[in-house]
């Protein structure tokens, strides 16, 4: 093997190593390689986590388009990659604008323009995370989450149950219908408790799926 050929192979080999090392170093920053799924809520029409981070330019045009200042760009301390758009339902929930200006403003398609009906948005799912403090579950008639829901009677229903506490009254328990809930967070924002009993979780956290062998759904819904 002549010298120039050996030099070339060495240069090529070392270059490949350098490129690989740098690539690995930068790739280690990928949120996916940090383990946990982000808990922050994304704007309507946001693509699933990894695709979103392939598409989002972190330009903030969605946040600028939001008339309610719901959307803001994640900071280093937030549970989402810095600069990507998020909202915190308890601070400012999504008002579900019918013209969805945030999606219209997205230049890259990180927010999917095929979302035409805001009621079809799936930003997350509300979950009654603390039923033991929920006033309705405790037998009172608070109903605030149910009343403020933009999809009242579709995304949140009140289900009458026997109140074993008094033995003679009903409890009207708020039940979230995940198939209709957009995750806007109006319920979480409006919950009268010091810490909301109902919270919007990202789909990845809130999702559940019945067992494949489950045939119980053939009967009428139970609650």
């Amino acid at each position: 093997m002549n010298a120039s050929r050996r030099d070339f192979l060495e240069t090529a080999g070392r270059s490949a190593c350098a490129l690989g090392a740098l690539g690995l170093g930068i790739a280690a920053l990928a949120p996916e390689s940090q383990g946990a799924a982000p808990v922050a809520l994304r704007p309507p029409g946001a693509r699933e986590a990894e695709r979103f981070l392939a598409a989002c330019a972190r330009c903030g045009l969605c946040a600028r388009a939001c008339p309610y200042d719901t959307l803001r760009l994640a900071r280093l301390a937030d549970d989402a990659p810095a600069g990507t758009p998020i909202y915190v339902a308890r601070d400012v929930p999504c008002e579900m604008c019918p013209d969805i200006p945030c999606v219209a403003a997205c230049p890259t398609g990180a927010l999917d323009k095929s979302l035409a009906d805001i009621a079809k948005a799936r930003m997350g799912t509300a979950v009654l995370t603390s039923p033991e403090t929920c006033l309705n579950v405790r037998g009172l008639r608070c109903d605030v989450c149910y009343r403020v829901c933009p999809l009242i009677e579709k995304a949140i229903t009140l289900e009458a149950q026997h109140n074993a506490g008094t033995g003679r009254h009903a409890r009207l328990v708020p039940v979230v219908r995940a198939e209709a809930c957009t995750g806007c967070g109006k319920c979480e924002k409006s919950c009268v408790l010091d810490e909301a009993a109902i919270k919007v979780l990202p789909l990845a956290l809130a999702a559940s799926r019945a067992g494949r062998h489950d045939v119980y759904g053939n009967r009428a819904r139970t609650s």
């Binding site: 690539g23 949120p31 981070l53 330019a57 330009c59 903030g60 045009l61 890259t108």
Partner: protein, 293 residues
């Protein structure tokens, strides 16, 4: 990319030009460049500060006067490698930016637009003032490896992961979107570049490492704008231009071009900052537009 030996300067650049041509003439392009950098930032700040919206978004992707979309082509390249096919708006925006810099000069971005540039300039200025000569030796080509690493990382992870730490966009986003936390991140990005350039490597970030600059360098220098040395026979070898230049390896070929031959700086590394024009007390350099100077 030739490694031309750069002479060690013996004096501070500037005073000779000020004495020969006056303070203003010796700072003309520096002032123009600071004005341009300020203008590009101000376009994004009139909205949040005064409610008058000119450019929305950030340098990564923006919309000016609700009409002109601009997108960082390096971001878009990473996005494509992460296997996302973007909306037409982003494609069009990146095309406009690419065409603009290809028509002028790729690294014009670095000297006239990038918010990191003034910080790196201050670090270089301070180094000269303090007389600090020691510097970590980095290959100028390191930036191309970092650029390759950033693109490879996008391909491997399927996300635009470089933008997590890119000090250029972190700083710009922090300045434009404000808020104490975002501003903190911006400040950290700026401080990191400043400290690295001042304490560790002379012109370390912009001149050796920055993949954004490397990308714009690849767009090249075939556009109509260049710095040239039309009066190179007047050069008295004072080395002030080498001393002030952020990419001093580009000057030699222009200065030593044969008599009568075009002297425009062809090297894509040249950011067309014009500081050599400012500091030359013999007025050797000039901007050359369309091959004329």
């Amino acid at each position: 990319m030739n490694h031309i030996r750069v002479p060690t300067p013996q004096r501070l650049p500037g005073p000779a030009a000020v004495a020969a041509r006056g303070w203003f003439a010796a700072h003309r392009w520096l002032l123009a460049r600071r004005a341009s950098q300020f203008l590009f930032l101000a376009l994004f700040l009139t909205g949040p500060l005064f409610g008058f919206w000119i450019a929305k978004g950030t340098l990564a992707s923006s919309l000016t006067f609700d009409l002109l979309p601009l997108t960082d082509p390096l971001f878009l390249s990473q996005s494509l490698l992460a296997r996302h096919w973007p909306e037409t708006t982003a494609l069009l925006g990146a095309g406009i930016v690419l065409a603009g810099y290809a028509a002028t000069r790729g690294r014009l971005y670095c000297a006239w637009v990038c918010p990191i540039n003034p910080i790196a300039d201050v670090a270089q200025w301070a180094r000269r003032r303090f007389g600090w000569k020691k510097s970590l030796r980095l290959e100028r080509a390191t930036r191309y490896w970092l650029l390759g690493g950033a693109l490879l990382a996008a391909l491997a992870t399927g996300t635009v992961v470089w933008e997590q730490i890119n000090p250029v966009t972190v700083l710009h986003r922090g300045l434009v979107f404000g808020g104490s936390a975002a501003f903190g991140a911006a400040l950290a990005a700026a401080a990191a570049v400043f400290l690295f350039d001042l304490g560790i490597a002379d012109r370390g970030w912009c001149g050796h490492l920055c993949p954004v600059g490397a990308f714009y360098g690849l767009i090249g220098s075939r556009g109509f704008l260049a710095v040239a040395a039309p009066r190179r026979q007047a050069c008295d070898d004072c080395f002030d231009c080498f001393s002030v230049c952020p990419e001093p390896q580009v000057i030699g070929p222009a200065l030593h071009a044969p008599e009568g031959a075009p002297s425009a700086i062809k090297d894509g590394d040249c950011t067309a900052c014009g500081r050599c024009i400012d500091v030359c007390h013999k007025s050797v350099f000039a901007f050359s537009v369309g091959g004329q100077s």
